[in-house]
């Protein structure tokens, strides 16, 4: 009776697991659910995430750029102010998109929609849920990054074919923020606590060498900024935008790989602690 029955099939699939109760190799079911749910998504909210960095680019890059003039780019040559801040804004947009998806959306699904509770009553493990949800955040981040890069191209801010690599690099940045963001969200219980996230994101956006070089700060502050994740994203995309790579490029990439791994670990352990206690 067991063999061939759906419960038997599900049980057989459940037995065949590398990470025991944590993972059932079925994150695609979570992704399929997310794609199906986009049918009822508010598309205006989706679009606002795309337009935000574009508006910044136009006002700061074009408007403020007219006063600033040319600045020194990552490879030492002069570039327009708009071309200088565009990659930084792309990094910010990757961060914001990933953080929004992995914090507010996750907070709602965790505490109000009881979505994860339902998922974890099935054969799914917490790692399936974390991977699936984060993949969806990255998919959205990739769409934003592609759109923004296209806008950069239309504004004549792309001077090197390397600039196309900004799209996958943005996804890496988003991966780091999304995995860590979901883990941190799992600790938060109230809307007031959720507001702390904005309290961290806004100064990081303004001060991570986004609009001017790091060298304007005294040395101790430089060290602090360099420890923050966004600075690595800004520098990474800025280097890629003109194809000027250095040893620092590997450090930036390494920073995000480590952040991603730590975030995934934290998220999985937290989901396990919250729902399978």
């Amino acid at each position: 009776m067991d063999h061939g029955s759906p419960a038997g099939t599900a049980a057989a699939a459940a037995r065949d697991r590398t990470f025991g109760p944590l993972y059932s190799r079925n994150a695609r079911a979570v992704i399929a659910r997310g794609l199906m749910a986009t049918r009822s998504t508010n598309w205006l909210v989706m679009l606002s995430g795309f337009f935000e960095p574009v508006l910044f680019l136009v006002s700061m890059g074009v408007g403020l750029g007219a006063i600033v003039g040319a600045v020194e780019g990552p490879d030492g040559t002069a570039i327009s102010y708009a071309a200088y801040i565009a990659p930084a804004l792309l990094a910010v947009s990757a961060m914001n998109g990933a953080v929004y998806d992995s914090t507010w959306n996750v907070f709602f699904k965790m505490n109000f929609a009881k979505l994860y509770q339902g998922m974890l009553y099935t054969s799914l493990g917490p790692l399936d849920v974390a991977l699936g949800e984060i993949f969806l955040a990255l998919l959205r981040g990739m769409l934003y990054a592609t759109g923004f890069t296209a806008v950069m191209g239309m504004m004549g801010l792309i001077t090197s074919p390397w600039a196309l690599l900004m799209v996958p690099a943005s996804v890496l940045i988003a991966f780091g923020f999304a995995s860590l963001g979901m883990g941190i969200t799992s600790f938060l219980k109230t809307f007031q606590q959720m507001d702390w996230i904005n309290f961290i994101l806004l100064p990081m956006f303004l001060f991570s060498a986004t609009f001017y070089p790091l060298s304007v700060y005294p040395e101790p502050i430089q060290w602090f900024i360099q420890a923050m994740p966004l600075w690595h994203g800004v520098e990474l995309l800025r280097q890629i935008s003109v194809g000027a790579f250095s040893a620092a490029t590997a450090v930036h990439i390494g920073y995000y790989l480590a952040m991603t791994a730590a975030g995934m670990l934290l998220t999985t352990l937290r989901l396990r602690a919250l729902f399978l206690k």
């Binding site: 759906p6 079911a29 979505l115 509770q117 339902g118 099935t122 799914l124 206690k277």
Partner: protein, 339 residues
């Protein structure tokens, strides 16, 4: 009527072909069906508080087994341990030969879970809820599509297939949650307070659906604090209070053992209920004085009521009824079930 107390027996019994036998054919002999759930001294502590404090029971395949008790008795915690989403502090638990603590996902593949609060996916439409849930179990679409339609039919929601979940009534949502829990054709269905918050008509529709599942041989495990629900649906139940089992047996057996056949309910007005008790002494087998009424337990309610009248007492209202599980609970714990 069926009555057996299997205790913590986990011995493998001969498999019986009939999934569900009418109660009359089962009387006396222990079930010859395999045990699907066996709990031994099951305990869950949150800090110093023992939510479940050493309960033991076993459930044979196809039985409808109830956990009856007031809110906070530990029923939901016991259900979560069975479902493998809460780890036990101590004791043994065996679900179809597996330990849910170490084989959680595999155990859950055999279970259908209907939680106390509906957790339907509000972003998906009714039918999509079933399809997506089935995919969580790793089941293929070729199986899920006809199965979803079949379950919508079962839940009487076929004409709502394309509707949004939040447009459904409470009873419909509950039926959809039950349909969803059946997507993997589970052998065991866990129902936590299945009809709490539903109006009487919706409850009866739901009971009818659950009874059909029982007839199909699905093992039902349900918690409830409604007496009538336990009497309608459960072959056998345990009465739980403060994490402990107070009694175990079929509803009829529990009533027979812990109560009389009939009960006389008398209301003398809230002032006089307590003072009148002495005057009622000696009528029936036992007297229970509650703030709003006095209960006389007697095998013959009408003659007890006649004696009340004979003593010249004039209650504002009187009612003779059959004993229910409510009376059993009152006897066992000294408290009413629904406060």
């Amino acid at each position: 009527m069926p009555f057996h107390i299997t205790g913590t027996s986990t011995s493998v019994r001969r498999v019986h072909n009939e999934a569900f036998l009418p109660s009359g054919t089962r009387s006396g002999s222990p079930p010859s069906r395999p045990t699907v759930i066996a709990a031994g001294n099951l305990t869950k502590k949150y800090g110093d508080l023992a939510a479940v404090n050493g309960i033991s029971f076993s459930v044979p395949a196809g039985e409808s087994f109830g956990l009856l008790g007031p809110n906070g008795a530990g029923k939901s915690t016991a259900m979560k341990m069975i479902g493998g989403v809460t780890r036990r502090t101590s004791g043994t638990l065996d679900i179809m030969g597996l330990d849910p603590d170490t084989h959680g996902p595999e155990v859950r593949a055999h279970l259908g879970v209907v939680p106390q609060q509906d957790n339907l996916d509000e972003e998906l439409r009714v039918r999509d809820n079933l399809l997506v849930y089935g995919r969580y179990f790793g089941l293929p679409m070729s199986y899920l599509k006809p199965k979803a339609d079949e379950l919508l039919e079962f839940a009487q929601l076929t004409d709502k297939a394309r509707s949004k979940v939040d447009s459904l009534s409470g009873g419909m949502k509950r039926r959809l949650t039950i349909a969803r829990s059946l997507i993997n054709e589970p052998r065991i269905l866990l129902l936590d307070e299945p009809t709490t918050g539903l109006d009487p008509q919706a409850r009866h529709i739901l009971w009818d659906r659950l009874f059909r599942l029982k007839e199909q041989g699905v093992t039902l495990i349900l918690t409830t604090h409604y007496m009538d629900e336990a009497e309608q649906l459960c072959d056998r139940l345990i009465v739980v209070d403060k994490g402990r089992i107070m009694a175990e047996g079929s509803p009829a057996r529990l009533i027979r053992e812990h109560s009389t056949r009939e009960v006389v309910e008398l209301r003398f007005g809230s002032e006089r209920n307590t003072t009148i008790a002495a005057e009622l002494d000696g009528i029936g087998e036992r007297l229970e004085v509650l703030p709003d009424r006095v209960l006389i337990y007697a095998d013959d309610g009408e003659s007890a009521l006649e004696q009340v009248a004979y003593r010249g007492l004039r209650p504002l209202t009187s009612l003779v009824r059959r004993s229910s599980l409510e009376d059993v609970f009152l006897r066992l714990t000294g408290r009413s079930l629904v406060d």
